[in-house]
């Protein structure tokens, strides 16, 4: 009885997921074409493609990675390897865990106040990337710390007993085995960030901004992004019924993007687990 209930709930969850994916696939696949991917929106966004939104999401994600990965990794290394484990560190860890539960719109407002206004970065790729970076930091830190914890103590002791300094031990005999796990967590966090709308809404995303300038100029400009474009196409457009297929196409591209990022994360984990299996 209990078991069949558990089975039913599981089945229900999977069915909902399958239904959503099927719905988006069946309605979106018809608009997917080379042109849809590589063209910019035309005729008041009733025709054309989503290339600027893909590019915008790409650059914002890149800023996110460059901000969140080093800070997240070094924070995790400090918390796990150097800090004296006491009440303060436990409190900090608790705060970090809690931050991952803060609604994304709060991050949006905070990013707007801090990056856009206070640091005067304006509405831009950089403001949005940094805001999403803050959003992913708790994920990156937590995943990195978990990854460091999986490295056996015997590796650390073995290196220390040979006269390695603490940093040498971490650099040569801990980090190499923790990096795959760190990457996995980071990519999962990034996949979440890439689908977020609220944080970029406040800090730089644009309704229609079809031509991005060259790097690095584009970092200081507004941009289009896939989740926001989807939001516009499905709720704000003046010819909402006409552009519905385009909205589904955008949703499909976004989902494929995020699923492949998750797939990459799983592949990295699997690949390295196999490599270090016999530990």
């Amino acid at each position: 009885m209990g078991f069949s209930m558990l089975g039913l709930t599981t089945l229900a969850v999977i069915l909902v997921l399958v239904f959503i994916l099927f719905d988006i696939f069946s309605k979106g696949i018809s608009v997917i074409s080379w042109e849809f991917i590589t063209d910019k929106p035309r005729r008041g966004m009733t025709e054309g493609g989503i290339w600027p939104a893909i590019v915008g999401t790409f650059w914002v994600s890149l800023v996110t990675v460059f901000f969140s990965v080093p800070i997240g990794m070094f924070t995790a290394i400090y918390l796990n390897e150097y800090a004296v484990q006491g009440r303060l560190i436990r409190l900090i860890r608790l705060a970090i865990r809690n931050l991952s539960g803060v609604p994304s719109i709060v991050y949006g407002l905070f990013g707007f106040a801090l990056f856009t206004l206070m640091l005067n970065l304006g509405l831009s790729v950089i403001s949005s990337g940094l805001t999403l970076g803050l959003l992913t930091l708790p994920w990156t830190i937590t995943a990195s710390e978990e990854a460091l914890k999986t490295v056996p103590r015997s590796y650390r002791e073995g290196a220390l007993a040979l006269g390695a300094t603490k940093w040498q031990t971490i650099r040569t005999n801990v980090l190499p085995y923790a990096v795959p796990g760190m990457l996995t967590g980071t990519i999962l966090g990034l996949a979440r960030a890439a689908g977020e709308t609220a944080p970029i809404l406040f800090t730089g995303v644009a309704f229609f901004w079809p031509i991005l300038p060259e790097f690095p100029k584009l970092l200081t400009r507004q941009f289009m992004a896939l989740p926001y474009h989807l939001f516009i196409m499905s709720t704000q457009h003046h010819e909402i019924v006409k552009v519905r297929p385009l909205a589904y196409g955008t949703a499909l591209v976004l989902i494929v993007l995020i699923v492949s990022m998750n797939g990459l994360a799983i592949w990295i984990r699997y690949h390295f687990r196999k490599k270090y299996k016999r530990i």
Binding site: G158, A159, L162, R278
Partner: protein, 252 residues
Amino acid sequence: MPDFKITTRNFHFYYGKFKALNDISMDIETNRVTALIGPSGCGKSTFLRSLNRMNDIIPDTRVEGSIVLDNQEIYDRNVDVVDLRRRIGMVFQKSNPFPKTILENVAYGLRINGERDKGRIIRRVEQSLRDAALWDEVKDRLDDSAMDLSGGQQQRLCIARALAVQPEVLLMDEPASALDPIATQKIEELIFDLKKMYTIVIVTHNMQQAARVSDYTAFFYLGELVEFGETDQIFTNPAKKKTEDYVTGRFG
């Protein structure tokens, strides 16, 4: 007058409030094998790990008293722990090869000490593997993963890795406890050869092993050093009743 490599005087060790070692005083002779025996939790491993300050990495631990290595107080404030651990090598109970090649495992200690010369590294790796009686078994597959070696080979690899940095003292924490009799015998023969060049301190659960390989034996019980003397005397004519009960297998 024997030459002592390490002298310990009134050494105490605490994990937090728990006193794990009480007032240990003993001398470890140069180029001899000293065995530490006693039941689980008696402090013998704690004492061994105090000798190269491996216990430093355990939070909330504290020491009192003195351990002197060649006239140098090792718990002195200005002692470089990294340098100390280069001089006092350690082999662990569970063999812990790194997930690298056989060559890179043995070369690890050289590389972190700044050795860059390939030729010198190769020569030292070969010598260390020969000293650890492993060379003939691995010379044709130095680039294979160390994880592919058998348990006994892995443990000898860890010994080779420790020897590569040319320590003066070798600490062994139950090096053969996870090995089969043949692999154990190889390790014991190896210990016999190695004491020509190194001062060896070995923790063991196995009384026969202590009797076979060591020159001196220290019997620990509940954090105290009950008796310390020549191995022959400890096993054939112990001065304390407790020692006799333990070495004859009446408890432990």
